[in-house]
Symmetry: C3
Subunit: 206 residues, 3 copies
């Protein structure tokens, strides 16, 4: 193992940006996935590739952490930021896989708003990662993600009420759809965890 | 931003007490919510107000953390304590909201015992917060919360067995009720996380 | 309280090994539980005893942490390792209890593979705990647990697809089985959290 002796290892910023860019790709695949007439198995396959790419960047971060002597912020926070970014991807990938496994081919229409929340959260996260370098304008990012998570929560509850109260689907299909929607909600929560980790880092550095 | 230069910022104790007092209010609203003939939409509205108040104290703690130089215990633990208190409130609020969204108006009778566990846990937590100042008698609190969580777990399992085995409700209603009961169980778990965080703090200070 | 003044308190290694050995016992009870013609209430009773034993070792670790001045690695990591080992046991115990509560007496056959994953993960974890002393060969353990968790995830999804698509069971039974399978999946996730905690410790020590 080669110890890097530069005073601060800067490549972490790029690696976090890579992870977050994978999340943008993943969220856009979700948008495609819920579109009418989509080739869902093909999209889920792309999502799986995207999840592998995200895994790769997570492992690259962990390996770099292992061989780096002086890190730009606490090792524990680097570890947590890499893990929470990875959690978002895992939830999105599982949502897509369940859609295909369960052969779901129509969705309650409010699901569009839920996926839009994820897409916006992914974009904001990808834009925020490079700003870890200067620690500037992270507060705006954090506030906006929290706002989005609240909005996602409202959409989630409306989706559930619609799904359970309207009787549009048989009970097994309700259960299948709920599992997909829960993964999307957990992806939104995971974006909030990413933002909370960024906030912890910013508080320590301030 | 004004840095406070008092050797130790004491206001955290009061802010944690505020958060915990909100949980007492919330737990009592749950007691009302499951009573026969309750005006459930009105109670859920009060719960929402209570959740906003709790959010306010969480944010006040985070802001204070940001501007305080010397904290009474580890920054990370202050952060975690504020977050876990907030988690309890979120679960209780979601339970109340789901009851209204799903128009649930009768409950398996064992749910009373589940809500009693939450009420007692909230009271114990509110009583314990001011004792963080002296770090005294926190062990009793921690033991009692763990005992309550175990009791809540027993009640939870009995509730599930009753709900799924007795055939009192149609399948969709079983699913709706399970979601509410799960939130109550998660609120009990979150009280345990609060107690575990307090224990971590006490171990470090001992 | 007696402070131990040996330069490093070594008994933690044995206590972690005790906890992990309980997980091996628990996983083997799950293998029995899903066998045809098993006396399930008796097995769930043994599982409960196993869970109590695991609780005891968790508490012993926490007490020792409390009275030890110099720990072999960070207090926080000792705390987390003890907690995550305990989480695995809790999930396995809840799975067994739900099987009995819901009187489930046949299982989708792929469940065997899921329980095999847990048994293998428990064995690997029990073998790894003593190696915390030398910090050697932990990497192999960590990689293998991650591989197992991925495999468990594949099995989990196949199980869900089978359960929801094949129409072998009525809807309430599908819901009951899903709850058991979810606990097994969470046990596999908790094994991964144990491995991630071990990795964090190894990274800090390297």
């Amino acid at each position: 193992m080669r110890l890097r002796l530069t005073p601060r290892e800067d490549s972490f910023y790029d690696m976090f940006a890579d992870s977050a860019n994978n999340l943008v790709t993943g969220a856009r695949l979700l948008v495609e996935l819920i579109s009418d007439g989509a080739d869902r198995p093909a999209i889920a396959e792309k999502m799986r590739a995207c999840e592998h790419a995200c895994d790769e960047s997570t492992h690259a971060i962990m390996r770099r952490l292992n061989e780096t002597f002086i890190t730009p912020f606490d090792r524990e926070d680097i570890y947590r930021l890499a893990s929470t970014l990875d959690d978002v991807m895992d939830e999105m990938e599982e949502a897509a896989d369940l859609v295909v496994l369960y052969k779901i081919d129509e969705f309650p229409k409010e699901i569009v708003h839920m996926v839009e929340v994820l897409e916006r959260a992914a974009e904001l996260t990808a834009e925020a990662m490079p700003r870890l370098r200067s620690m500037k304008e992270l507060n705006e990012y954090w506030i906006e993600i929290n706002r989005l998570e609240n909005q996602g929560d409202q959409v989630y509850r409306k989706l559930l009420a619609h799904l359970f109260n309207n009787g549009d689907h048989d009970t097994l299909m309700v259960m299948k759809m709920k599992q997909v929607i829960d993964r999307l909600e957990e992806a939104a929560d995971a974006f909030e965890s990413v933002a909370n980790t960024v906030e912890t880092i910013a508080v320590k550095e301030s």
